[in-house]
């Protein structure tokens, strides 16, 4: 019984030792891959730089788009609006109204579109010209496009709008949302573009790492052959190259973060001026922990997948020749 327990203990000890050796081997491979990169500093730095730039670019674009979205949200109350007169209001009455609006302190400028000018515009429109020609008199109102001052407070603007809605000559006050819609359409497009750029550049990084590791495999052909002759498993042969991919991904991620911090710092001045011009009300996004974590994860992911691809394609082809 005692003897049996002793055997069990020994087996356990042996297993522990095997696991321990295995972990030590991993640590050696991990550091060994790093050592190999340090031994070729220029080549490694070039590869890391390319990876860093390729990772930083979509991240920077994504930050810009996110800021654009926040900016668009902050502009809700700062939009131009149009004032339409009731039918039958004369040109003179409408122009008087325009002058009165123009004199408001929160209004920067106004643009007057008379009913006949509006009709002219419709007449020039290919689809509507026939319809317009069939009309005997002009059904269109006069329009006053109001552009508020940049520092106009949302509350004062709202008061002005309410005042205008109640004015006897005014039929309708309509927010001019067209450019905001256009802006968010552009943002949508930009967001899609960021995705496409991320996928393309991610693919490029995988190819770069794959190719670097392919060359590495070529250079270490003799070692791989001899290791296989002495019974190295696929995992044993694969490991150093996967660690190389890991390091490239990690350093690429670190460099991308540095590049991002640097470019955000360079953009800081113009961004702040832009915010001041739009009357504040909007906090710009910088690089937060989540962004960094994402960059690092993507870096590691593409590093490992690039290495894995190279290893899967090229290691099996190296078989010992005697």
């Amino acid at each position: 019984m005692v003897k049996l327990r002793r055997t069990e203990e020994l087996t356990e000890l042996r297993m522990l030792r095997t696991v321990n050796n295995y972990l030590i081997r991993h640590a050696q491979n991990c550091l060994g891959a790093l050592g190999n990169m340090v031994r070729k500093p220029i080549a490694s730095m070039l590869t890391i730089t390319v990876i860093g730039i390729a990772l930083a670019l979509p991240s920077a674009l994504s930050i810009i788009v996110r800021n654009g979205q926040a900016l668009a949200g902050g502009l809700e109350d700062l939009r131009d609006f149009s004032v339409y007169t009731k039918p039958g209001v004369s040109l003179g009455q409408a122009e008087d109204l325009r002058t009165r609006i123009d004199n408001e302190t929160v209004v920067r400028s106004t643009q007057f579109i008379s009913a006949s000018e509006a009709l002219e515009e419709f007449r020039d429109d290919e689809e509507l010209s026939d319809l317009v020609r069939a009309l005997t008199d002009n059904p269109l109102p006069h329009t006053i496009v109001v552009r508020p001052t940049l520092d106009a407070q949302p509350a004062t603007l709202k008061a002005l709008k309410n005042l205008l809605v109640q004015h006897p000559l005014v039929d309708l006050v309509k927010l001019d949302t067209e450019w905001v819609q256009r802006f968010s359409a552009i943002l949508d497009f930009a967001r899609r573009a960021v995705w496409v750029a991320t996928i393309l550049l991610g693919g490029a990084v995988i190819i770069i790492i794959g190719n670097t590791i392919r060359l590495d495999i070529e250079n270490r052909r003799a070692e791989i052959e001899v290791s296989k002759l002495f019974g190295a498993s696929d995992g044993f042969v694969r490991r150093p190259f996967l660690y190389t991919g890991f390091w490239y991904g990690l350093f690429g991620g670190i460099l991308a973060s540095l590049l991002l911090v640097l470019s955000m710092w360079l953009l800081n001045g113009p961004v702040e001026r832009l915010i001041r011009l739009y009357g504040g009300g909007f906090e710009p996004f910088g690089i937060d922990g989540r962004t960094l974590l994402t960059i690092f994860s993507i870096g590691l992911l593409v590093g490992l997948s690039g290495a894995w691809l190279a290893v899967a394609r090229h290691l099996a082809a190296i078989q010992p020749r005697v």
Partner: protein, 218 residues
């Protein structure tokens, strides 16, 4: 320990490198394999190390038909075999120590055990002071001895050597062969392919002669 049963190896070009070859090797035997170049010596060794697989017939190592061994079991099979090559196949960018340690690193030995056994192996081949040298700093004979130290360090049951003295002068060849004999004396099965007939005569042992892929004499 090793049994070839009507083994034929045909390469893609249609040439039979081995034809209907049968023989048995017992544990602890010292076998010389000889014949002209192209007689099938290398092919025979490749079948044992599973670099090639037989076209017909069976190759049994310790009763197991290795011709059927799945790919992922090949490494474990090779770890039981020590190999010595004519061109020694040492890694130029590694030290003597690292070269000899390779089979033990592959077999996942502890660092401490590796250090002890590598030193013992160096001692065995008489090059204990060359640990930190690189292969390029050694003579051809010394390189081959390092190759032998690497082959025996993981204590394989079977040692295979393909023209181990092919690049050496007669005196160095004799040194190498004496190393092999000492190793065989402690019970390791040895299979040595060579066409150095003088050496075979001096050492003695069983001789298998191949000619055109067939056994001519055993």
């Amino acid at each position: 320990m090793i049994r070839f049963d009507k083994v034929t190896k045909r390469y893609n070009q249609g040439r039979d490198a081995l034809r209907n070859v049968s023989f048995d090797i017992d544990s602890g035997e010292l076998i010389f394999l000889t014949g002209h170049s192209g007689a099938g010596k290398s092919t025979l060794l490749k079948l044992i190390t599973l670099i090639e697989r037989p076209t017909h017939g069976q190759v049994l190592v310790e009763g197991r038909n290795i011709g059927r061994l799945p790919r992922q079991r090949i490494p474990a099979h090779r770890r039981q075999i020590g190999m010595v090559f004519q061109d020694h196949k040492l890694l130029k960018d590694r030290t003597v120590f690292e070269n000899i340690a390779l089979p033990m690193v592959i077999a996942n030995y502890a660092q401490r055990e590796i250090r002890g056994r590598v030193r013992a192996a160096l001692d065995y081949v008489g090059l204990q002071n060359k640990e930190t040298h690189t292969p390029a700093m050694l003579s051809t004979g010394e390189q081959q001895r390092i190759g032998i130290a690497r082959a025996i360090v993981a204590r394989p049951k079977l040692l295979i050597a393909d023209e181990p003295t092919g690049n050496l002068d007669p005196q160095l060849s004799l040194d190498i062969m004496n190393l092999f004999r000492r190793f065989n004396e402690v019970g390791v099965t040895m299979l040595i392919a060579t066409h150095d007939l003088g050496l075979i005569e001096q050492l003695g042992g069983r001789l298998i002669v191949l000619e055109n892929g067939e056994i001519k004499a055993d």
